[in-house]
Point group: C2
């Protein structure tokens, strides 16, 4: 752990970024010199320093699509699952695809600040090796795909900081097991994406990189903690990325950026070697999962990883093979309109109703209204267990260098539930967790049909609203709920905000302080113009395959 | 938690036992009045009080077999899996079978003190209901079987104490989920079996019941903590029983009593509602599993429970269906001759060699020598995590009533590793555990064959010797190793001590203090005359089905 002054370290982090940009432009120069000019003149979400958030465009994705060369877009705007087929057919070389994605990611990163570091040297070597061995490699399930990985995921010869400057010296000499698996399956990381200070934030600010903004509206956050992944995939400058999630960190950025994201069940995907604060705390476990604009690629990625038998490399994984699901009965889906703690804001409430009414038209689907079961209690339990040390470990990563505490970190650590626990208190909360899990399971099963036909999934909000304004993403209940239960959730796109339909409900009476806070953030639909609206599809543990099958129905509604 | 003086409570515990004997004899009287005389004159392993260990016969099982009426033995000496078939065919009524097992258990309990409490009223009702519904019920997989359950398993309207007097007021109004499942499958508890003070003991002494002795040699312990289960099944007075295991508590009593026992993987069988000290501690999790003299019944029991989808009632369970294994290659088995911490004593070393040489004759088996990997470190890690509170919870259960601390409890709590841990220390040990699990998995996989064919299982000692003399079962390494790793272990019978072959090795030089202690306990083979010799078959996580298939080969050697 470093103890140098944080400002020097922040300069070092900026250097790492800038060096990687320089190297990328050196190894993958723009074909047309005008492109470099365009690139240099893009409105930047990166400032001079990490405390300067630049001057991003109001709608970065518009600038991105207008300014990115057509030749690049020909590749990067293709559905990545389709691109994968073309790579396997040899329509494009891996190098061509990589070059396009580097150019796209350079533009994206300038516009929304989603990349922590480009990996031009390594990615070039991977791409060349694959191209050289096309015949032997083309049948690999992820042949030739450049992918993004969240900064906190070990990648050989890089420092892993999870957003804290003091760890700039923590250089690993290995790849995370999941990275090794993906490499063996033909994919390779080309960028490491931004994550916030200490990761416990549904936004993406750090003194390592500044602030990542939402591609659809830069006044809004991209979400977090897998914020860079959300933004880079939301803007289409990556094919698929890996995030991690202990309270919403895959789902919130997937939702805020209009893409698919999977919070998998503990033990389904390998992530035991990921870094974070509170390492060794096991009361609530983090999981990993993909974020991508393509449901098909999400499925291929999950299947490829699980087909590799990750339980033989990561003892946290469970030996449950990937098994496609076939429905031989009506699919029974619950709709959770509210958790009765924070009422969903107009765009989310509308999206739920719209999905519901579309599903009602399907003969193979049966809908039920799913009532929440003590969600406030769930938040109380999980909030108590997140920081068993009262946040001491997190704080120590800052005091080591004098790194200031981000407003969001400070907020999460100041919650009543956050205090150092003695062993009997940890046990007490674990027992409360176990009892809650048992009671919730019973609640879920009470929605089985009269013949015992099971409730297959529940559609629920992922967040009370669409992407939040910066520094206001404070209600975790719609995501942390499923972390406490360890239920998998597939986040799916469900349209966009509609400024004419989604007006604030001026007659609404908030239920409590948090509900009031959230309600008041929604001052007008216009403030959130452009924002995607996503929802979550929740299942019982280890039902990822089923969620993906239902996801295909939701995609095609 | 009660605070009355422990002596009064101990009297109450004795009353509970005696009342249950009386009620059993009332509802299930011996047919021949002479049997009652025989029963009354049996040498008793129960004294007048719980601190008086009675005057058990030197070889209780001999007395048992000599004195038990032939009509009872006709039923109870039948392989329980065969008996199950006859119950389903209607050869015997459930009531007849129950009566025989009650009589057998009355004899057994007097001889070895294995029953905490008989359940005549409930069992009679279960049996009558099954008999009355024979046609509809006979196809239940466990139709009509009276089974035993360890005292710490919730059973409706009974106090659950796990051997601590202070909990005599903890009367539950529900059955454990696994009990509910077994009832639904046609089996029913007829006795609750003894377990030691606070459960953290590989023996079976408590101030609730006194001391359970080994049926084959009463100078030896029956093992623990599922000691009553080991003894009652070892003497053949139960068909199958349920124990629990966090450090050897199913395997050690199975081994000491010459029967089969399965320590299942965490999440395979439901036990989240079992009681113990340290409830809510999750760093090392306890599991449940069957103990029985019949491997076939062990398999039927496991399969029946898992077929019921326990993950739908117990959120700790994982949705892995029961799946019979077929070998389409040679079965690759490792032999672990020593953990290099404590050298196995002569009977165990010999049994390992004998099993090895018999397996060498099989064309479908391939043997490899399996080397231990830092087993001493495993003990250090798990010992640190057993009592995260430094034993405060355990101690509080005694101080509440003034209950004296058993020598074995005192010993386990006095280990260097046992101290109250601060949160960062718990995390540190959890990280050590995670790293060790990963390294051990790699070690295991290094024994795959050249073509990658997997190592299917490892045969290893369960304890350095056969059943230990009372108050000397102090080395947990051969069992706790697999708790730390969460690997399933099937304990299997491998013969008996041979006083002519198993002489102490007088030239042996102990490796360390524990090794010396264990070595010195083995003063002569004669001290252990009659003791069964068992071994363990270890597999990777969730490979219970495979262990049972290999178990069939071992049984038929």
């Amino acid at each position: 752990m470093l103890t140098e002054n944080w400002k020097e370290l922040a300069d070092k982090a900026v250097d790492i970024y800038e060096e990687s940009v320089k190297k990328t432009l050196e190894l993958f120069p723009f074909e047309d010199p005008k492109t470099l000019e365009v690139f240099n003149s893009l409105p930047s979400a990166r400032g001079k320093t990490v405390t300067d958030f630049g001057n991003p465009a109001k709608v970065p994705i518009e600038v991105y699509l207008e300014s990115l060369p057509d030749k690049v877009k020909e590749i990067t705007e293709k559905d990545p699952a389709e691109l994968l087929k073309e790579l396997k057919r040899g329509t494009y070389s891996v190098l061509e695809v990589l070059e396009s994605y580097f150019h796209a990611a350079l533009f994206a990163s300038k516009l929304v600040n989603c990349v922590y570091e480009f990996l031009p040297v390594e990615a070039l070597a991977f791409a060349k090796a694959l191209d050289a061995a096309f015949d032997e490699s083309k049948d690999l399930p992820l042949y030739g795909l450049p992918i993004s990985i969240k900064e906190m995921i070990p990648f050989k010869n890089r420092p892993i900081t999870h957003g804290s400057l003091c760890y700039l010296d923590r250089v690993v000499d290995y790849d995370a097991e999941i990275v090794k698996i993906l490499l063996a399956k033909g994919a390779f990381p080309f960028v490491r994406t931004t994550n916030p200070q200490s990761l416990m934030m549904l936004e993406c600010e750090s003194y390592m990189h500044g602030r990542t903004v939402n591609p659809f509206n830069s006044d809004l956050t991209c979400g977090g903690s897998s914020g860079g992944e959300g933004a880079i995939n939301g803007i289409h400058a990556s094919t698929v990325g890996l995030g991690s999630d202990i309270g919403g960190s895959i789902r919130c950025p997937a939702a805020f950026n209009g893409i698919w994201g999977m919070r998998s069940t503990v033990g389904r995907l390998p992530c035991a070697d990921y870094f974070s604060c509170q390492l060794g705390s096991e009361s609530i476990l983090s999981v990993t999962g993909p974020l991508t604009r393509s449901l098909d690629l999400l499925e291929i990625t999950m299947k490829s990883i699980i087909d590799s038998k990750p339980w033989l490399v990561d003892p946290m994984c469970t030996a449950i093979p990937w098994k496609p699901v076939e429905f031989n009965k009506k699919i029974r889906i619950g709709i959770l309109h509210t958790d009765e703690v924070v009422t969903p804001l107009p765009p989310v409430a509308r999206a739920l109703k719209e999905v519901e009414s579309k599903l009602l038209n399907l003969v193979n689907v049966e809908l039920v209204e799913f009532k929440p079961f003590e969600h406030q209690k769930a938040m109380e339990i999980i909030s108590s267990l997140y920081f068993e040390d009262g946040g001491a470990d997190t704080k120590s990563t800052l005091t080591a260098t004098g790194e200031p505490m981000c407003e969001q970190t400070s907020w999460v650590l100041s919650k009543d539930a956050v205090k150092p626990l003695a062993v009997p208190e940890i046990w007490k909360w674990n027992l409360a967790k176990q009892a809650y899990r048992k009671a919730y399971l019973k609640h879920w099963l009470s929605y089985n049909d009269a013949e015992g036909g099971e409730l297959d999934a529940v559609i629920a909000p992922v967040f009370p609203g669409v992407a939040a304004k910066h520094r206001t993403a404070k209600y975790w209940g719609y995501t942390a709920q499923w972390n406490l239960l360890d239920y998998p959730v597939l986040v799916f796109p469900a349209g966009k905000i509609d400024t004419s339909l989604d007006k604030p409900d001026t007659s609404y009476k908030p239920l409590n302080d948090m509900d009031k806070f959230v309600y008041e953030t929604y001052d007008s639909a216009e403030s959130f113009a452009g924002a995607p609206v996503n929802l979550g599809l929740v299942g019982l543990r280890n039902t990822e395959e089923k969620l993906i099958e239902i996801g295909k129905i939701l995609r095609d509604l």
